[in-house]
Amino acid sequence: MITDAPQIITSRFDKADSHTLAGYEATGGYQALRKALSMGPAAVADEVKTATLLGRGGAGFPAGVKWGLAPENVWPRYLVVNGDESEPGTYKDRLLMERDPHQLIEGVLLASYAVGCGQAFLYVRGEMALAQERIATALNDAYAAGYIGKNILGSDFSVDVVLTWGAGAYIVGEETALIESLEGNRGMPRLKPPFFPAAKGLYMQPTIVNNVETLSNLPWIVTNGGEAFAALGAETSRGTRMFAVSGHVKNPGVFEVEYGVTTFRDLIFAPQYAGGILGDRALKAFIPGGASAPWFFDEHLDLPLEKVTVDRAGSMLGSGAVIVMDETTDAVKACLRVVRFFARESCGKCTPCREGTTWLQNILQRIQDGYGRPTDLDLLMDVSDNISPGITWPPKQTTICPLGPSAVSPIASAMQRFRPEFEARIAQAEEARHSVPVNFTKASSHG
């Protein structure tokens, strides 16, 4: 269903000065901060809990609940903003950082106030130079205007917001790896338990790690109230959410839609969104939530963009990245490309992932190149099973973090639906191997 829900986080995107302090203040900016300071920290946290704002980074954990996981009366607490957007297909946090950095900063301030964080670190992906510049400018201006720093707007609330940035590593989007990176280390995930960031995070202190889009919702929630937010969307997916629709569609784009009620069909085919499949061709498959998500097909088009529904159907909304593949797509090639990504980005800490993803890539590459063997399909499933036992959904894992199991998603999907394509490729290879080369007969006749 297409609704006329308000634009909560993209409302300023069409304004040329949306990234400036003047532009932000002229459109209600920093009013939520003033309101929050008069409400008190617990009341702000309650509004967010009422809103049931699900984390927008991938896992979809309710932000209000996450805040509440910090052990009572343990100080200091830190806030870490995850701006390391790099899940293939995902394009939203960069837009929010580039086009409305003050909205994010106000969200950071509201979260710090509610949780009791005296220092916040805004970690931006290394490759995003413009986002870093826009945030640096916004922070400098907001400090000068008294919105950040010591005794904010004359209150007893003080927080420093520090811009920090990465240097190219997908795995750092995983929250414990991000914390390692922020401590100056190689970005390798920590074992959970015991290192749940809310209990033992940055410098082993309680740390709340929130995604950019999640935090960007806070000014609206505090201004309009948690109930107004919860009135939008469906039972388990409230508010609005940004989805990037890429691949074989007429009008690829990033759209903020009402969460939980808009369907994949709306998003992919409606003229105001992606506008249908390129060249009006048939749909082959689509990835509903970034490269880590199992693929969906025609029969899933009428599912709403709703967390629990999509989870139950065997995939996930992940980071809000819908990647559309039309009937001309080579399933082997697409599968190989996604697996290759995970093989390249494996941090190397856990053996099943480090070795397994590389083997999966090599096997798929040889099938793609016409050297596949009849035993390769079973081998793919066997290696996959060693990374993610049983190849189930949600996945089990023999690894510390979900990167390894993510490489299994495209294989399980493609093999379940397009196995004949893999078999045909291998049969061709077999035929080539067993046929007598033309030059051979010539050579023997000249013997």
């Binding site: 946290a45 297909g89 240097a167």
Partner: protein, 204 residues
Amino acid sequence: MARLTNDNIELAREIIGRYPRPKSALIPLLHLAQEQDGHLTDEAMAHIGELVGVSSAEVLGTASFYEMFKMEPVGRYMVNICTNISCQLRGGEELLAHAEKTLGIRPGQTTADGLFTLEDVECIAACTEAPCLQVNYRYEHRISNEGFDQLVSDLRDGRRSDIPSHGVLAEIRQHIPADRRAGNVSPEDTATPDWIAAAGEGGK
């Protein structure tokens, strides 16, 4: 150039001062060194180790994990073409093949004139603008073969002053004014924050 210049030492001290523990400044400082020299030299890494109080081996240990840090000289322009799934579906691999032909190099190589290094990269978060690329981490969206050739000739002829040389990331830096600063929160500082204590909420 090898060790950080005096100006950069000053910047480095300012950056280190924003973190409760100096080692947290490591990645930003490595970017600073790369901005100075175009790549990371052993001397710069050793110097950074001195500044944050870790060994040069630890600095290298961190630096070598991250793709953006280059231990060898690279071209003035790092051309990163995305071939991940969203771009692959919209011609990213064909664009890469065209770029190889235009520049006469393969991914990972640098042109003989030292101007261009080509790389085949993973998703750079411009998926709805495929095929896309970055030159020194500045975006080019929905780029055609002709558009690519134009970009290369513009860079060659110095018509893209908006793209600084490799190593320069953000050209605007954060500066926290001393009179507005709240100050670092040390992990050892176990006091209840003022506004929480004042609200009498005990940190629920």
